[in-house]
């Protein structure tokens, strides 16, 4: 495979830098930052004050707008963190202080005792069974009980027990200690003391997350007084399959199914009375998700969402909201409700709210959910103090304009809700972006602190008769007290191919793993079966043992006799034992047919192709170039800057003009960035690490071949020219937001004679043709309205809107506009404002008529100028580009990411990334975050000397292939193509090993390594 080493040696700075990154806070953001930084070649310390990683997302039931199971998508990342040799997870630990400077920090940590030796605890849970003390289960928001010594939650990583020191009988009263002898591995240690340590790192990434607003602090919500009022996070646990009710939706007072539920929005958000004026950015959508999930649980259920503006501003949100709104029995009511009280007999909660007309309604609900906002944790200010960084008045991290992941201290970065309230994909994006900044700072130290484990050379086992070694785990007593392990071992000894079988107390303990390695060598084993817990968490442990013993790791097979046998058949030991034997027999049958699988290495072309020279493309280019990567930046137009050159300032006052000019200058003068304008991609081929593109440059269209390891799509978006809407294009007093910006900048004097300006929102957005929200227009209008008020304070400025979507901290500007007298009038989609050009008494103006929903009257507003907030639309070039790159667009014509929640800048195809408004409409700072995130994701490819492919993937037997093409059709990754002779070929770099092709191939030409037809057949034969 081609290998083109394009690393350019940059001058090495004099001062020593440390090739390690500390991530503080291990929620989804922290996890992403850790994974990216580790994949880019840095040692990572992932620190969390809680006993396990996962943060708030691990408590969610599903995630909007795809309703993916939260744990399903998150827990694989736990395992990635846990098994990555370059990530050290440090739990129960807080940061006490930081000394030093960017590149070389000393971080002081303080670790609370767990009272369990992590290296000994296997998470088997026996201690919990013996523990007599029940404590509220924090993971379940206190809605259920767990034991005083427990594993934080079933899928927790690290899966280690912890003692609740405030409730433990021994720690509080010197009684009990029953757990100590219960632990067969002697892991419980009440002598543990708090531990202070200091680690050296080059950079810190802060991701401390949020706390939900505590409704106890504001008694109007009745949370303390009425039993059937719950917070939204409690509701997540209530409906979660892993929650206290096993996924059944019951209300707290009487355990009955609620048939009528109300959601009250903006609890602790957008509310001066609770001291929190900003919008929490996620509640509208999670409430909508909860409505849909509740309806899925109980289709006849009635749901009422009492809201202010519905802020469905993100990608796919508006459709999701529409879906919920149109469900039978679901009502969205524009009103804030007061809690009147509860009915004495039923404990139903009575709410009072105004209806849109002139009515006030009292309505009774079985359950009321408070959509609580996202608040900065108390600890933020403390952390900021210890790290000497700035937080704003709300307690969120202060960042310089246009650099959202930076903090006020060099080398310390931030991401997620620490920055501002935001949804998961935005947090994940920022996390990757923060990892990129750390990487940019430390790139010369890449690889200096990471360890590559060196394994002995693998023994060639081809031609050998199977010699299966079998290890059956007691898991302390978790398995052994149900399954008759000795008899199972005896039985297994008689299975064909088995030459060795033994019982292990804890197969995963260091001792046992050592024993397995020795036995492989001593007995000359060439296949290993371990019967223990689940391969999902423990397979890597034993596969490594094989590698240490010089065996190919794929010669290993797992029999799950714990989670799927002893733990679920406790009452029937005989049947459980029988099942364990069966599972062993099946495992051995498969094991005898296992063959080694190899991952082949291939070189990486260390350069990038970036398509689009707007802010996103340029920032991504700079991030990569900062790390010594050659970047080919192609721009369709004849200059750099994209749409941002038309925007003078941001809502927050950032000088966009100066910023963009600075970035263009930086890009133009960077030796590693080759800018091609008037350039278009013409041909595209290859796979991750090695792409070849042909770009046509200039008016002549001269073809230019470029070889690159990654591709970043940053094609941007455009402002719709809404012809035929509100006299736009007919009357030049009607302008789009960008046109108004330009007019205000170029001819501010003109506005001195202007007495009245009206903004109309959602022009071309949220309609049948474009059923999405353009995200930026509400804030843009607020910005322009404020600017007009600044130019001429006595000017009448109206904003006619559907929902003001000034989400997050932008809400403060909406409020500011109101304070300054900008008048906001809400309209409904089916009752749009009307416009006509009028001349009266020698005066010419535009007359707007709109229904004022509270007054129930049509208001007539005479305006000198009308500004239409036109949709943000994808450029027409997206479609051909998507075909060329073989990556999908969504229904709206924006590029579609691999996963809406957790892979916001990746495409499903490895090695291709996206950023900026090519993904969906967004603000400049969000585009910058995404650009840096894309660079970070790109570096996880480019930082490697070589990429590995193969292993358990699909392979073709050409002689059996008819070339019918069904495999090519079903492959989710487009990893299969036709060779010259029509026979299918699997691209190892693209194949992910799902096996859909193998299951679809009629002639058996495709088969999946590790789960082959033959192996599966033999398992079936051993039933």
């Amino acid at each position: 495979m081609p290998h083109e080493d394009n690393i350019i040696q940059l001058p090495v700075p004099a001062r020593k830098r440390i090739g390690a990154v500390m991530v503080v806070g291990a929620g989804v953001g922290g996890i992403q930052a850790a994974l990216d930084a580790a994949a880019s070649g840095f040692k990572v310390y992932l620190v969390d004050k809680r006993p396990a990683i996962g943060g708030k997302m691990s408590q969610l039931d599903k995630t909007f707008p795809t309703n993916d199971c939260s744990m399903c998508i998150l827990s694989p990342k736990f395992i990635e963190c846990a098994t990555n040799p370059n990530i050290t997870i440090i739990t129960n630990t807080k940061v006490e202080g930081v000394e030093g400077e960017a590149g070389d920090f000393d971080v002081h940590l303080f670790e609370e005792p767990r009272y369990v030796a992590e290296e000994k605890c296997t998470g088997c849970g026996t201690c919990s069974e013996y523990c007599p003390v029940f404590v509220p289960d924090v993971y379940n928001e206190g809605l259920s009980k767990t034991k005083c010594i427990h594993v934080h939650f079933p899928q927790a990583v690290p899966a280690k027990s912890i003692v609740d020191a405030t409730r433990c009988l021994f720690l509080t009263r010197k009684e009990c200690q029953i757990c100590v002898p219960a632990c067969k591995n002697k892991a419980i240690d009440f002598h543990q003391q708090p531990k202070a340590t200091t680690l050296k790192v080059g950079s810190l990434i802060l991701a401390p997350g949020y706390e939900p607003f505590d409704p106890l602090t504001q008694s109007q919500y009745g949370y303390d007084r009425f039993s059937n009022i719950v917070t939204s996070l409690e509701f997540e646990r209530l409906i979660s399959a892993s929650g206290p009710n096993g996924g059944e939706l019951y209300r707290p007072s009487d355990g009955k199914v609620p048939h009528k539920i109300a959601w009250i929005q903006c609890v602790g958000s957008r509310d001066e009375s609770s001291g929190c004026t900003y919008c929490s950015a996620v509640c509208c959508m999670y409430a909508t998700k909860q409505v849909i999930l509740s309806k899925e649980h109980h289709p006849e259920m009635e749901a009422v969402v009492l809201h202010n503006d519905i802020r469905a501003y993100g990608k796919g949100f508006e459709r999701f909201y529409e879906r919920a709104k149109n469900m039978a029995g679901v009502r969205y009511v524009w009103a804030k409700a007061a809690i009147v009280g509860e009915r004495a007999e039923t404990k139903n909660v009575v709410l009072r709210y105004r209806t849109n007309g002139t009515e006030v309604r009292d309505e009774e609900f079985d359950l009321v959910v408070l959509s609580v906002g996202l608040h900065a944790p108390e600890g933020n200010r403390d952390l900021a103090g210890k790290l000497a960084i700035q937080v704003n008045q709300h307690g969120f991290c202060e960042s310089p304009a246009f650099s959202p992941m930076e903090t006020s201290r060099a080398g310390v970065f931030n991401c997620g809700v620490f920055h501002a309230p935001m949804d998961i994909p935005d947090a994940v994006t920022m996390a990757s972006g923060a990892a990129s900044l750390a990487s940019q700072l430390l790139w010369e130290e890449r690889g200096t602190m990471v360890e590559e484990k060196v394994f002995p050379e693998e023994r060639d086992v081809t031609g050998e008769a199977p010699r299966v070694g079998l290890f059956v785990c007691d898991c302390g007593t978790n398995i052994a007290k149900v399954v008759d392990v000795p008899r199972t071992v005896e039985y297994a000894k008689g299975l064909p191919g088995v030459v060795y079988a033994a019982e292990e107390t804890f197969a995963c303990s260091v001792d046992s793993v050592g024993h397995i390695i020795k036995t492989i060598e001593k007995e000359g084993l060439n296949r290993v079966v371990v019967a223990a817990c689940t391969p999902r968490t423990h397979e890597p442990v034993f596969q490594n043992a094989l590698r240490e013993a010089g065996l190919n790791p794929y010669l290993f097979e797992f029999a799950n006799i714990r989670e799927q046998c002893s733990l679920v058949h406790m009452a029937d030991k005989a049947r459980a034992t029988q099942k364990a034997k069966d599972l062993l027999r099946m495992a051995v049958a498969r094991a005898t047919l296992l063959s080694p699988l190899y991952r082949v290495s291939y070189g990486v072309t260390r350069s990038a192709l970036i398509i689009g020279g707007g802010i996103a493309g340029m920032k991504a280019a700079l991030s990569l170039a900062d790390q010594g990567i050659i970047v080919h930046l192609i721009e369709k137009g004849n200059g750099l800057g994209g749409l941002a050159v038309k925007i003078p300032v941001t809502l927050e006052g950032g000088d966009v003009r100066r910023f963009v000019e600075g970035v263009i200058a930086e890009v133009s003068s960077n030796d590693l960035i080759e800018v091609m304008t008037n350039a278009e991609l013409a041909e595209y081929s290859g796979y991750v690490g090695n792409f070849t593109s042909v770009v046509r440059v200039g008016t002549a269209g001269t073809p230019r071949e470029i070889r690159h390891g990654v591709t970043i799509v940053a094609t941007g978006a455009e402002e719709l020219k809404p012809r035929e809407s509100y006299l736009y294009g007919v009357d030049d007093r009607v302008k789009t937001l960008l046109e108004l910006d330009e007019a205000m900048e170029k001819n501010a004097d003109r506005f001195k004679d202007c007495n009245s300006v009206v903004f109309i929102q959602c022009v071309g957005s949220r309609d049948a043709e474009r059923p999405y929200c353009s995200r930026v227009c509400c804030s843009h209008s607020v910005k322009s309205a404020l600017k007009l008020k600044e130019l001429k304070p006595e000017m009448d400025v109206y904003v006619i809107y559907r929902d003001m979507r000034t989400y997050g901290l932008k809400e403060d500007y909406y409020k500011k506009a109101s304070d300054q007298g900008v008048v906001f009038i809400r309209y409904e989609a089916d009752d749009k404002p009307e416009i006509q050009a009028v001349e009266e008494d020698g005066r010419a103006f535009l007359r707007l008529t709109a229904t004022e929903p509270i007054l129930g009257q049509r208001l007539e507003i005479d305006a000198d100028m009308v500004c239409v907030a036109a949709a943000s639309v994808p450029p027409a070039g997206n479609r051909p580009l998507s075909r060329l790159l073989k990556v999908p667009l969504n229904e709206d014509g924006f590029f579609m990411e691999a996963h809406m929640k957790l892979r916001p800048v990746d495409f499903a195809t490895d090695g291709i990334f996206m950023c900026g408004t090519a993904h969906s409409p967004k603000f400049i700072d969000e585009s910058i975050a995404q650009a840096q995130a894309a660079a970070s994701r790109a570096m996880t490819v480019l930082a490697r000397k070589e990429l590995k492919a193969g292993g358990p993937i699909s392979r073709v037997t050409p002689a059996k292939c008819s070339g019918c093409g069904v495999c090519r059709n079903v492959c989710p990754y487009q990893a299969i193509s036709a060779a010259e002779d029509g026979v299918s070929v699997v691209n190892e770099a693209l194949c992910k090993g799902c096996g859909v092709c193998a299951a679809s191939c009629r002639s058996g030409a495709l088969d999946l390594g590790g789960v082959s037809n033959n192996q599966t057949w033999s398992v079936i034969q051993a039933l």
Binding site: S962, N969, R1002, T1016
Partner: protein, 317 residues
């Protein structure tokens, strides 16, 4: 000589003369009456061997895969549908074939005539219009061909080829709609009755694979029954093995089977093979609105999906 035969010969001659094709695949009279057989015409001189009558049953589409030369093919409705599938599945290159479509009036079921007239009694057959003249050693009978069509032909919904380069013959009146009443009737039977019927049918199977060999869409280099690693299906005539063979073969043809009947025609022991194919044809239509062989664009339902597809009934506690 029928009008159709004339038109076919004319077309074949033109194509060969112009060098557009190297071979024309059509039918010629067989050595026995009521047995027209495929023939390969490579030069103008042989063109007059080509005929068209009610006995051109064989599905000729299966002669095209892997053919290197450029060929013209005389295709009935079902042949053309098989061709469509073969083109989609990359077995036939569209540019390499000229399709002489025949607006088919249905093939005659010889066995029914024999049943009426007596086996071996016919020495010559001749067709004009709807008339079928059968000559015995010392007799002559004129029958209405429409009464002796194959059941599948009577019910044929697409007698006119779905894909052709030139069409001979006149499309008849509107083709019947397939209501799949046979599938519904069988499906309405008691579960045990269905099982008993199929068990008895499958018990007849001698695993000769004639069905597979005749099928235009069974072109796998190695059939799943022939593999050894794993040997999914035993080689013996065990009923369970036979069942699995026919079930999976039918499943492999789901969304692809064009209902030409070649399998049944080929079966030496008269197994009701199409019982399963018919069911799948119906399901494809009901579940995915798909009919095989009608469009080059439509992907086989089992090679694609939609997010809102119907699924099987699920366990949903």
């Amino acid at each position: 000589m029928s009008q159709l035969t004339r038109e076919i010969r004319e077309a074949a001659r033109k194509l060969l003369r112009a060098g557009q094709v190297q071979v024309v695949i059509g039918f010629e009279r067989g050595s026995l009456p009521m047995r027209s057989r495929p023939c390969f015409v490579r030069c103008e001189e042989d063109v007059d061997r080509l005929v068209w009558d009610g006995f051109c049953e064989t599905d000729v589409a299966r002669y095209l895969p892997k053919r290197k030369e450029k060929a013209a093919i005389v295709a009935k409705g079902c042949d053309s549908r098989a061709l469509v599938e073969l083109i989609k599945e990359n077995q036939v290159v569209r540019d390499q074939v000229v399709i002489i479509g025949v607006a088919c009036k249905g093939m005659i079921d010889g066995s029914r005539i024999e049943a009426k007239m007596g086996r071996g009694s016919i020495v010559e057959d001749d067709e004009t219009g709807e008339k079928l003249i059968l000559k015995g050693a010392d007799s002559e009978e004129v029958l209405d061909r429409r009464e002796f069509l194959h059941v599948r032909c009577k019910a044929c919904t697409h007698p006119v080829p779905a894909l052709y380069d030139l069409l001979v013959g006149q499309p008849g009146a509107e083709a019947p709609k397939d209501g799949f009443s046979d599938v519904e009737e069988f499906g309405a039977l008691d579960q045990e009755a269905r099982w008993v019927y199929l068990r008895d049918e499958m018990s007849k199977c001698i695993r000769c694979y004639a069905c597979r060999n005749a099928c235009p869409l069974c072109y796998c280099p190695e059939c799943f029954v022939d593999g050894s690693q794993p040997q999914w299906v035993g080689k013996s005539t065990n009923l369970a093995d036979t069942m699995v063979f026919h079930l999976i073969r039918a499943f492999h043809l789901a969304g692809r089977c064009v209902g030409c009947g070649a399998c049944e025609h080929a079966c030496p022991v008269g197994v009701d093979i199409r019982k399963l194919n018919r069911k799948l044809q119906k399901d494809m239509k009901d579940l995915f609105s798909h009919e095989a062989g009608l469009s080059l664009e439509e992907v086989c339902p089992l090679a694609t999906f939609r997010a809102d597809d119907p699924g099987p009934p699920m366990v949903d506690p």
